[in-house]
């Protein structure tokens, strides 16, 4: 892959990570410090239903589909950003799984 294309993907990944982090910080409030290594459940104060609701917000924000079983593997905020990135459409961003096809 040419170096330019790699840079584009890295830039998109950074943007996704930043956006996911921003949205999550907004959801849990300013009282908690959250970064990409934070645990989505232990460090955010969100219960399991709230995490599923947040994933639904991400689906609408990025216009993607993230099936529930994908969330089971998510531990950190970084994992969540990776799940979003894997499901994002077009522009060389990796696609993954049955519902990622055909976008």
């Amino acid at each position: 892959m040419p170096e330019g294309a790699t840079n584009v993907i890295m830039e998109q990944n950074n943007q996704i990570q930043t956006r996911v982090l921003d949205l999550l910080c907004k959801k849990v409030g300013a009282a908690r410090l959250i970064d990409l290594d934070s645990s989505v459940v232990d460090d955010t104060g969100l219960d399991s239903v709230s995490v599923m609701d947040f994933v639904m917000e991400l689906e609408d924000e990025f216009d993607i589909t993230i099936p529930l079983d994908q969330i089971a593997d998510v531990r950190t905020v970084g994992d969540l950003a990776n799940a979003v990135q894997a499901r994002s459409r077009g522009n060389g961003v990796a696609q993954d799984g049955p519902t990622g096809e055909g976008h």
Binding site: D47, S48, V49, S50, M52, D53, M56, E59, D60, D63, I64, T65, P67, L68, D69, G97, P98, T99, E101, G102, H103
Partner: protein
């Protein structure tokens, strides 16, 4: 988290609430004397938390049928439907339910929970997609977990959001199964089925609609078939799930469908194949209860009169309620502690309701779930409202009686 750590985590999460009074998870009735009366810890209570919508648990026809069946066929079947657990009565009940819905076939399950588990997990396989309402019952979530299909949640009672999610899946292989409920058990609100059916129709041939009518059977629709009937979209509802543990007054579940090949589920739906079938008295009770439901539409009328009275009464007292009048009247409370305290105070004064706190509730709500029965009389509803008024005012959840009037005079 290990077994011991998990037990400790549960204890610390609920211990403080249990310390406020009774433990909601281990309540024990000494006796039940009618569909609306019981004895709890030696104290008589009125039952306002039973899902006994038509009050058929003590119906003499149902009881007589159960007694006759237990004498004729014995107490249990000791086997699953695919082994020794299918009796003529199971087949008769399936045929009667299919005739009631005017659909091709019915498959019985041993509970409503198992009906959702068995049907959803069998219909949707790897490569398919289940689209479920966020407020779905635990049995629907568990069914999705058991299925190898992808599960996608859409916003509660929001057909536009469902359409958006279906659009994202356009062109992908696999069947799409939309799963909704007729009346949602926590807030008592009903699904906009006409709009949801329209979304389904527009989304294409490989999109199916499954409706769980657990809380709407016997409650909604001209003949009590549920929300699908009330909204005139029964032809669009490919699979209708129901339970016997609410309006039917016993236990058991079923799925009814017109879809070609539906009965193949009998050979691969594991919760159908690998659990004991319904006991003979249960089957006989359900058959009698369906007959009562069909022959006595006045029970449904009475249920709605009672629901309106209780809903309007609680709203008039200043309680924050679920969005629509329904036999499930949800009283919203500011936090779990307030819900536990009101729940205990009501029992102390003789009214039993259900308590529901996060994570079992949508949007982290703390609720008292008050359910109405056709068997409640006017006096019981008036008394319950009086007790709600006193307990609510004492806990500072509503203004004391007279305050509202005083406030409006000042205004």
């Amino acid at each position: 988290m290990g077994i011991k750590q998990r037990a400790n985590a549960i204890r610390s999460a609920y211990g403080a609430l249990q310390a406020l009074g009774r433990d909601p998870t281990s309540l024990e009735f000494d006796s039940i004397t009618s569909p609306t009366r019981a004895v709890l810890d030696g104290k008589p209570v009125m039952l306002f938390g039973t899902n006994n919508y038509l009050g058929l648990t003590f119906d003499p026809h149902c009881i007589d049928a159960a007694v006759a069946a237990v004498r004729k066929f014995g107490a249990g079947t000791t086997g699953s439907r695919i082994a020794n657990g299918t009796y003529s009565e199971h087949r008769l009940l399936e045929a009667e339910i299919a005739a009631f819905y005017d659909k091709r076939a019915t498959i019985l399950y041993s509970t409503g929970y198992l009906a959702n588990l068995g049907v959803i997990s069998a219909l949707a396989e790897k490569g398919d997609q289940l689209l479920i309402d966020t407020d779905s019952h635990a049995s629907i979530y568990d069914a999705c977990k058991m299925s190898d299909a992808d599960t996608i949640r859409f916003r509660h009672n929001n057909p536009e959001n469902l359409a958006k999610r279906l659009a994202r899946l356009a062109g992908t292989p696999g069947d799409k199964i939309i799963v909704v409920e007729g009346i949602y058990s926590m807030l008592g609100d009903s699904a906009p089925l006409a709009e949801i059916a329209a979304v389904k129709r527009e989304a294409g041939d490989n999109v199916y609609l499954l409706v769980d009518e657990a809380h709407s059977l016997g409650v909604l629709g001209e003949t009590g078939r549920g929300k699908c009937q009330a909204d005139g979209v029964e032809a669009d509802c490919d699979y209708i799930i129901g339970t016997f543990s609410k309006s039917v007054g016993t236990t058991g579940g079923y799925c009814v469908s017109d879809v070609e090949g539906f009965e193949a589920l009998r050979s691969y739906s594991r919760p159908y194949m690998f659990t004991a079938s319904l006991t003979p008295p249960t089957v006989a009770t359900a058959r009698a209860a369906f007959r009562r439901m069909i022959e006595s539409p006045e029970l449904r009328e009475r249920l709605w009169q009672n629901s309106n009275r209780l809903y309007d009464g609680l709203a008039g007292l200043g309680f924050d309620l679920g969005p629509e009048v329904s036999p499930v009247v949800a009283v919203k409370l500011p936090e779990p502690k307030a819900a536990v305290m009101l729940w205990n105070a009501l029992i102390d004064a003789g009214v039993y309701t259900n308590i529901a706190i996060p994570p079992a509730t949508p949007n982290s709500l703390s609720l008292l779930r008050v359910s109405v029965s056709a068997a409640h009389d006017d006096e019981q509803i008036a008394k319950a409202l009086e007790i709600f008024a006193e307990a609510g005012a004492k806990l500072g959840l509503i203004s004391p009686p007279g305050d509202a009037a005083a406030a409006s005079r000042v205004a």
